[in-house]
């Protein structure tokens, strides 16, 4: 790119400088420009990335197709659950549900104040907002299983570690969803309350909380749904619940038993999902 080249007043993207836009002359003599399509470039980049990824992961369709029957053998056994195993599933299943309930409640309760502190329309101090958002982002980056493993190493194996891991995960997720919703609320009532002489807390309490509450409950329910699913595997690292049973069944290659565990989980997840979807519809 030569130094003399002066960009026109509008900001020109690097792409348009390299591939000059097509100039079209309209019938009445005016000219207009049409930027070149980005599609070819995107396709080339995608193909290169995919080729690199295929090489990186040693992916081969041949292996998948030639050995896929192995999977169907296992799936076949899973779809013939061993009903007698049901008795042994109940107790860890209830543990899993309890873990997710308590974890969700603790996480959501902690999330509310932090979400308020992280929403820029209520807290005008930009430093506080960005610091808290950054902390929330950091918490969300660590996978739940790793948190659960660290908790299990610190607080002995069992449901307590799982509950703590779920609470931390819920905290990160709910706080993020909540501050995004808080930023879209109508601040008019808040200002009106302040104009009437209410202090910040009073006006927040009676103008913002009624707007936030339904959204907050709906996010919490959504997170609870995810947590039931997630907590089912936390046992894999020793954090209590259904995961221990799943791990044990797979270790013994008892796929019929595994089928029973998964069936029980499926029923519970579907029931909770329907219930929570119904409640969320009512809330909105």
């Amino acid at each position: 790119m030569s130094e003399e080249y002066k960009a026109p007043k509008a900001k020109v993207k690097l792409f348009d400088r390299i591939f000059k836009p097509q100039v079209i002359t309209i019938a009445n003599g005016h000219t207009t420009v049409r930027p070149r399509s980005r599609m070819p470039l995107i396709i080339i980049v995608m193909v290169l990335v995919i080729a690199w990824a295929l090489k990186m992961t040693n992916f081969s369709f041949a292996t998948v197709f030639s050995r896929i029957n192995e999977l169907f053998v296992i799936l076949g056994k899973i779809f013939h659950p061993k009903w007698s195993f049901f008795g042994k599933v109940i107790s860890p299943l209830i543990d899993t549900i309890k873990m997710s309930i308590l974890g969700t409640v603790i996480g959501c309760a902690l999330a509310l104040p932090f979400a308020v502190l992280a929403s820029s329309n209520i807290i005008h101090n930009r430093v506080v907002v960005s610091v808290i958002r950054f902390i929330l982002a950091l918490i969300r980056t660590v996978p739940t299983l790793i948190i659960a493993l660290v908790c299990a190493l610190i607080f002995s194996l069992g449901t307590f570690a799982g509950t703590l891991a779920i609470a931390i995960f819920t905290f990160g997720v709910v706080a993020k969803m909540l501050y995004e919703s808080i930023e879209t609320i109508d601040m008019g009532p808040f200002e009106a309350m302040e104009a009437l002489g209410a202090n910040k807390f009073q006006s927040f309490w009676s103008a913002c909380i009624p707007q936030i509450l339904p959204v907050y409950l709906s996010h919490s329910l959504y997170c609870f749904e995810m947590n039931v699913r997630a907590s089912a595997i936390l046992g894999y690292v020793g954090a209590g619940g259904l995961g221990i049973t799943i791990n044990e069944r797979i270790g013994w290659r008892d796929y019929n038993g595994l089928g029973m565990v998964l069936l029980a989980l499926f029923v519970v997840v579907v029931a909770i999902e329907f219930f929570s979807e119904y409640l969320r519809k009512k809330l909105s």
């Binding site: 990186m56 992961t57 409640v105 660590v142 790793i146 190493l153 069992g158």
Partner: protein
């Protein structure tokens, strides 16, 4: 006739009530009383907490608990820089790239596999019974945890990144097709009718009537899932499906804190960057 006059009276009375200026106090009293609902919610939550807390006991820290906590903190603040910036096969950059490769391929295959499922399960295109059968099928795929999928696929592919790709391709179908279905059911069919009226062939109808409506939301969904898959790929390593998870687990279990710190830093930076990029692209797509 009588009904009509009744209605008239009713509307008149409502109009009169609306005309009348209410005092603030009267308005306040006319507010719907929701305290009963709130009390109900609080009670239900309280009962649930009581029930669930009964079984989760805090049994104190393990003998090595404080050591672990200190170790993790120490590791995070003093990461092993050789590992963090090395270029070998077991160093952080390589493992992160492998994790990205798993997520890219897993999302791509999942997104492609989800398209037929989504069309088959949308009630606007298929008859209701067929659509519901496919919906249950999609729900089944979603309920089986990704770790279990990985453990099943490992019998087919053997351990390694390959297993991670296949696992994620299957796992992604569930969520991606669920979001595709909503996009398909929101299709504006009037456009198809007008194309029909213009005498377009079915192929033209798909090209100019269906694809432009779907691509933006499909791409947005796929990018969102890539975000999730990347986080998921970091844990799949725990069962031996490649990526950074396996090494992180080993270091945690053998208490090499400096290495743990290096892995956690790598992971955090990667996920943060991808999340920022994906939010930005999706916002652009939503604006059109």
């Amino acid at each position: 006739m009588k009904n009509d006059t009744n209605k008239k009276q009713k509307t008149e009375s409502i109009l009169a009530a609306a005309e009348k200026k209410l005092t603030v106090l009267e308005m306040y009293e006319r507010q719907p009383h929701k305290w009963l609902l709130y009390l109900g919610i609080v009670l239900v939550v309280a009962v649930m907490i009581g029930w669930s807390a009964s079984d989760i006991r805090f049994s104190g820290m393990t003998a090595t608990g404080t050591e672990v906590a200190k170790g993790v903190l120490h590791g995070v603040f003093h990461p092993d820089t050789n590992l963090l910036f090395g270029t070998g096969d077991s160093d952080v950059p390589y493992l992160l790239l492998q994790t990205i490769a798993i997520a890219v391929l897993g999302t791509l295959f999942g997104a492609i596999l989800a398209i037929p499922f989504a069309f088959l399960a949308s009630t606007t295109i298929m008859p209701k019974p067929v659509a519901y059968i496919f919906r249950i099928f999609i729900l089944l795929i979603r309920t089986i945890p990704s770790l279990v999928w990985a453990l099943m696929w490992i019998r087919v592919t053997g351990p390694g990144a390959f297993c991670g790709v296949v696992t994620q391709s299957v796992c992604s179908i569930g969520m991606i097709s669920k979001m595709y279905i909503t996009a398909i059911e929101d299709l504006d069919t009037k456009i198809l009718e007008s194309l029909d009226a213009m005498g377009c062939t079915p192929f033209q109808k798909i090209r100019y009537g269906v694809l432009p409506q779907l691509t933006a939301s499909f791409i947005s969904t796929t990018i969102y899932r890539f975000d999730i898959n990347l986080k998921d790929a970091t844990t799949l390593g725990i069962v031996g499906a490649g990526g950074i998870g396996a090494s992180l687990m080993q270091c945690l279990n053998s208490r090499r804190w400096a290495m743990v710190g290096a892995f956690i830093w790598g992971l955090m930076v990667l996920v943060l960057i991808i999340e920022l990029a994906s939010t930005k692209i999706r916002r652009k797509l939503a604006r059109g």
